[in-house]
Symmetry: C2
């Protein structure tokens, strides 16, 4: 998230502690995916480029710090660094690997061609290889997670992954449903995106507090923070898919319309436009669903016309506030302040 955050001088210390823990995360990640079979090794090296913002490992580490009662007191950077253990790094690598598996499978489902400004794996190696490589990433993530001494992280990651899948299935079930409502849209987001981001925050706290501390108020607060932040993150992703350019976002855009996924700007628009405009807009949506993007500029204008972009931004902002509110359970600390900044950044980002 570095590019998005404007880190004030007072938080450069905590930012440095996180940065120093990152090479360990990446090493664990890469080590887990080393294969004795050269063609598999090569593909794993290729998809490592999918690692982007590394949001989930950042959250594991930062929640690991912020949940430590000693964190606010320590001045010395080396002492701060010792608050983060190998377990934090393992959990960070696990969450990123699960996330990456969903990216590989999503690209198959979306028939996407571009990811992180490069060709997607499905374009290079075909859908079959992509499906299995996604499976390999999931299995490797679980194997890595179960290397920890407690089965609790495996429980959390297994459960979050299953919930993610139900979110994707629910979304598929509502494909081309032009009367999708806000509640179902949010249910999809909470499952497909927020569950894993919440799990990352929970794992960060548990690596610090002990794996039996799932009911600890700090664990619960960070879980709530992650879930709310995850919803805000996905709302912003949906806005970028609708309004952003491929060049700016770095991946295929306009996929939601094409794939018949209604997102909040459109849901709000269809619920608030007059009858004639609703009919016209649905006509334009159907065009896009049939791969004809000629009506998209008119549709975006219509969406603006009902104030639906502002309504979407305000919905996302309400989740950011909810996330920041959850953090008040924690004592003030540089880690907590950085988590607040990250929540703000989630809806300001343009990629």
């Amino acid at each position: 998230m570095q590019g998005v955050l404007n880190i004030p001088a007072e938080l450069e210390g905590v930012q440095g502690v996180i940065s120093d823990a990152f090479p360990g995360v990446i090493e664990i990640f890469e080590q887990q995916l080393v294969s004795d079979l050269p063609p598999i090794d090569e593909m794993c090296r290729y998809i490592e480029r999918y690692r982007g913002k590394m949001l989930r490992p950042t959250l594991v580490l930062l929640c690991g710090l912020a949940s430590n009662p000693d964190h606010a007191e320590l001045i010395d950077r080396e002492e701060q660094e010792q608050l983060l253990t190998r377990a934090h790094q393992v959990c960070g690598a696990v969450c990123e690997m699960v996330h990456m598996a969903t990216l590989v499978h999503d690209d198959v489902l979306d028939e996407a061609e571009i990811r992180r400004r490069g060709q997607t794996l499905n374009m290079l190696h075909g859908n079959e290889t992509s499906v299995i490589l996604g499976d390999y990433l999931i299995a490797s993530a679980y194997e890595l997670c179960s290397s920890l001494e407690s089965p609790t992280p495996s429980r959390i990651v297994g459960n979050a992954s299953a919930i993610m899948c139900t979110g994707e299935l629910l979304q598929l079930h509502h494909r081309n449903n032009h009367s999708l409502d806000e509640a179902t849209y949010l249910e999809i987001l909470e499952r497909k995106t927020a569950a894993l981001i919440g799990a990352a925050c929970e794992l960060g706290a548990l690596c610090t507090l002990g794996f039996d501390e799932r009911e600890h108020p700090v664990t619960q607060a960070l879980l709530a923070y992650g879930r709310a932040m995850g919803v805000a993150f996905q709302i912003q992703d949906d806005v970028l898919d609708l309004m952003g350019s491929e060049e700016q976002v770095g991946k295929s855009v306009g996929k939601d319309l094409e794939k018949g996924k209604l997102t909040y700007p459109l849901i709000h628009h269809l619920a608030n436009a007059d009858a004639d405009q609703t009919l016209r807009s649905i006509e334009l949506v159907r065009l896009a669903e049939n791969n004809d993007r000629s009506g998209v500029p008119e549709l975006i204008e219509a969406i603006r016309g009902t104030g639906s972009i502002e309504a979407t931004q305000s919905l996302a902002a309400s989740y950011v506030e909810k996330a920041k509110g959850a953090l008040l359970e924690l004592p003030d600390s540089p880690g907590r302040r950085l988590l607040e900044l990250m929540a703000d950044a989630v809806i300001r980002r343009s990629y």
Copy 2:
């Protein structure tokens, strides 16, 4: 495996103990997949029909019995039943769920239309739903596995699943490779099939002996049994895909040829035919790879002509002997005798 086995009277008791433990396995399996979302619940109910021979849960339970030092001594059936715990049932359900996930993804990759004499999920709901439902099954299997008190079963299942994926990837890498050799073929089988069957046997032993007993000679013997049996099982599967009828086998056949997967009968044939026949056979293989099955009867005749069916049967039989040899580490018992019968049955089955 009931339909394949001819159970002698002396083993009906142990067979009954396994049968009595089965409803528990199925209940755990179904409970794990219950969803609060009706469309997802409905799909899970549909794919429960994929449960076929239940080979893996049977092996977990039977290895659980055979590895128990008390098993050979006990006469009373109720006492026998108490040797099997909820952990055995959980591990059985987990292995079947992982296996079922691979079936769902395999059907997508193979574009298969028939499974267990019914339409495949991908034909009914599309590839996207099938990919995610497979992911949901994998995630649910891990979640279930991590409900056990030790992380060891999760380690075993995560590792076996990752190895399975590398086997599938290796197979894809060698698609349409008409000079695939025996060693690579066996490497693929050991990974894509034998790893999980070995894991099922290992888990059965560990649920009995304790999760720290991975190095115990009985655990090691049952792992070796499962791996060898898994290779024999897959060789037989490959023979059935080549020679069996859809009606008899209950799923789409001829997929290996069509998908450019060379299996042992063909590998042996191409290595042993004279130069002219080899050229002609490769021509027929290419036809099949292009979905033209008109040359398949001639190809099968040619394969018979080089004695390649007998060679395949003899290869499979050598793995059955290896599996039975590994069992000699265990004391003689009804459970061990049933495991021996199962190994024999694997290469006698016609479905």
